[in-house]
Structures are given as C-alpha cells and as structure tokens.
C-alpha cells in the first residue's frame, strides 16, 4: 500500500494542518510546504520553511505535520526545516488571500514584494485597503502587531481597526 503513496496525497493530508495563529489558513496555501519526498520503503520527508525566524507557531506546525503523517500510517516520517530560499508572501495562494480578507485580515499584495528604501523616507507607506469596507483611506498604526507577520491599521472610513498580513 505504501508503494502507491504520492507527494500529491501527502500534500492533501497537509491541507488539514492549520496555522495556529491564523487558523483560517492551512500550511499548504500559506506556501510553507517546500517539498515532499517519498522513499522506496514509504518513508516521507516534508520540508517546511518558517515565515519568520522567531515564529512560535513553527514548533506546533512541525508537531502536527508529524502527527498527520503517523495518522496516515507513515512509519518513518520526518519534518525538516529549510531556510533557503526564504519564505515570501508571494508564495501564498490567491485562495489564501481571499480567505484572509473574509476573516478580516487585509491580505498581502500578490507578487514579489517591491523593494523600497530600508530607511524611513517620509510618507511612502502604501495604503492598505480596509478588509471590511474596502476603503483605501486607512492609516498605519504600527508595522508590528499581535504576531510577527501582521501590522496594525485603522480605517478612516468605517473607523474599524484591522490587521494586515505584511508583505514579506
């Protein structure tokens, strides 16, 4: 039975592993799963990449991936952390962006992050559309929020404070 195992099957199992800090997203659509290797004896190695170096969710995610592999009868399952190339929000699927929006978190822009000056240059901050009313009349409260991946904003139109999954 194990000989019929394919990376696609393992990938579909991993859709069940959610990001504990953004539970509306799974690790596949977040772009954390970098590769799945299956050995001759049915052993499985899943390579995952962290979003941020200090993201406390990584250990939880690794534990859950190992558990999912075990639940599906994989005898030798390993989870490996890879760092290169570094994770980017460009790897997030469009489906994931829509889910974030519906969850009330403004999604990161699609595509590669534009390179801007690393030092402050005045008012060059891109307006993030409000996930509730769609207005672009919003202000950045802080580039650092409740988790490493999010920033804090306020909508001047509907007066709703909201979070934004930062372009990274």
């Amino acid at each position: 039975m194990v000989s019929t195992l394919t990376p696609e099957m393992v990938r579909s199992w991993l859709r069940g592993v959610k990001d504990p800090e953004v539970p509306v997203l799974d690790i596949v659509e977040l772009g954390l799963v970098r590769s799945i290797q299956i050995g001759d004896a049915g052993e499985v190695q899943v390579d995952i990449t962290p979003t941020y170096s200090g993201c406390p969710a990584m250990e939880v995610i690794e534990g859950e991936v190992a558990e999912v592999l075990a639940q599906h009868g994989v005898v030798e399952g390993t989870v490996k952390r890879v760092f290169s190339p570094p994770w980017t929000t460009a790897w997030m699927t469009s489906e994931a962006r829509e889910k974030l929006q519906a969850y009330g978190i403004a999604p990161p822009p699609s595509g590669e992050v534009e390179s801007t000056s690393p030092v402050a240059m005045g008012a060059t901050v891109r307006a993030v559309p409000c996930p509730f009313c769609g207005s672009t009349n919003t202000t950045l409260q802080s580039a650092f929020g409740s988790t490493a991946c999010k920033s804090l904003h306020t909508c001047q139109q509907c007066h709703q404070p909201f979070e934004h999954f930062k372009a990274h």
């Binding site: 200090g54 760092f83 402050a120 990274h168």
Partner: protein, 249 residues
C-alpha cells in the same frame, strides 16, 4: 579554533543579547503599539539567534545545541558586540542603539547572502527580510525624536553621543574575519563601513542631529572582552535554564 564556529557565535550572540535587552521593554513601552513593536523585534532577534547558534552547534560538532550555547556559556565565552549589551537606558538610547545596530546588521546580512556557505547564506537571507522592517522602524523613530521636541532632540543626540564609542569595532576585522573572507564565506567588514556611514549620516542629517564627534574605543568584544553589564544580563537570562538543567516545556 574553528573559524566558522566563532563567526556563527558572533552572529548569534549579537542577536541573542540585543534581543534580550529589547525584551526588557515588555510591559514598559511608551505606548502600547511601541511595546508590541519592541517585543516583536526582540522575538525576531532571538529567533535569528536560535538559528545562527543552532548552526554554530552543528559546525562545532561537540553536541552543543542552541540552548546549550545560549544558556551554558559564561560572559567571557560570549562574542557579542559591547554595543548590544549595554543597558537600554531611556527610550532615546534604545532607539539610537537599535538604529546603529540595524544599519550594521542590514549591510552585513546583505553581504552574507552571497556567502559560499549555503547554510549561512540561507539564514542571512531569511534574517535580512526581518531586519528590513526593524531598520525602517528604528530610522522612523530617529527622525521623529531628532526632529521632534527640544527635549526629544537633546535626549536622542545624547544617546547617539554615548553609543558612538561602541561603533568602532563593528567594522574592525580580526583573523577570523580575514580567514573567512579569503574563503568566500565571511563579509568584507571594512568595505561595509562607508555604506553604513552614508546611511547613518543621511538619517541623522534628516533628523537634524549631528554625527557624534567622538572617537570610538577599542573593545575586543569578539575575543570575549565585555562590560560589567553582560554578567548581570546573563544571570537573569540564564538562571532558569541553569537551575533546572535539561527542563522542557
């Protein structure tokens, strides 16, 4: 002496010690958003330290992991810059030190992304994305404090004047740097100094602050010379791990 192990300790220790210093602001930030920002940056730095020290342990091959290196070494075995260990002082000093370090770290990690050592290059690229956010944040505060009120200007200028003497060794290569540069693994520190100078001079100028007229002092942090502050920092950082050996949660 394993040069690569030493080099990775330097990268890890800078981030561990500065991350610990920033974590002291938890619950004491001037406003809630800044409390969250300082602790987010602390978390990034400690996360980076975990990666660099983890790789250092692998390179050393003596069975020490990141935790053993972080919690079971004494002050003279630490390789962090003195700039990272001196106390936070007021918010102005915290910002000034952070900006000087972020600008250094951003250029250094940028150079290391093309290291011939794949593991080091990967961690440098991973960390640099985070440092880009830190640098933008600390430079914004330099502008705001420098070009703010009379008091904020005076206090952040005092902070830069006090921090400046610790910046001399940032770009001073020793044998470890020279050997690793020759192998294509390490960064060319003297080549980074002019671009760091340019960035710092630009931001201080726009913040209406003066580049300090202070001669940096020789420090030898990379060989284990530290201020009296590091031992006190370690006693707080290490006591839990040392009094409960091998504890997990």
């Amino acid at each position: 002496m394993n040069d690569l192990f030493e080099y990775l300790l330097r990268l890890g220790d800078d981030r561990l010690i500065l991350g610990h210093r920033l974590s002291e602001w938890c619950g004491h930030g001037p406003v809630l958003e800044e409390d969250i920002a300082l602790t987010n940056i602390a978390l990034d730095l400690i996360g980076q330290a975990n990666l660099f020290l983890g790789l250092a342990g692998e390179v050393e091959g003596a069975g020490r992991d990141a935790d053993a290196l972080a919690f079971l070494r004494t002050d003279v075995e630490f390789r962090n810059l003195q700039l990272t260990e001196i106390p936070c002082g007021d918010f102005g000093f915290t910002v000034a030190r952070q900006f000087l370090f972020d600008a250094y770290s951003w250029h250094l990690l940028g150079a290391l992304t093309s290291s011939q050592h794949d593991g080091l290059a990967g961690l440098a690229a991973r960390s640099r994305k985070e440092v880009t956010y830190h640098l933008r944040h600390s430079s914004e505060w330099v502008l705001r404090l420098g070009d703010g009120t009379e008091e904020s200007h005076r206090r952040v200028q005092d902070a830069f004047d006090a921090a400046w003497r610790y910046t001399g060794e940032l770009f001073l290569p020793d044998a470890v740097d020279t050997n690793l540069l020759a192998q294509g693994i390490g960064a060319d520190l003297p080549a980074l100094k002019p671009i760091w100078d340019e960035m710092v001079t630009d931001v201080l100028g726009r913040a209406t602050l003066d580049v300090p007229d202070v001669t940096p002092t020789a420090m030898n942090s990379r060989s284990g010379s530290h201020t009296e502050h590091l031992g006190h920092l370690l006693s707080e950082m290490q006591f839990l791990a040392r009094s409960n050996p091998g504890a997990k949660w």
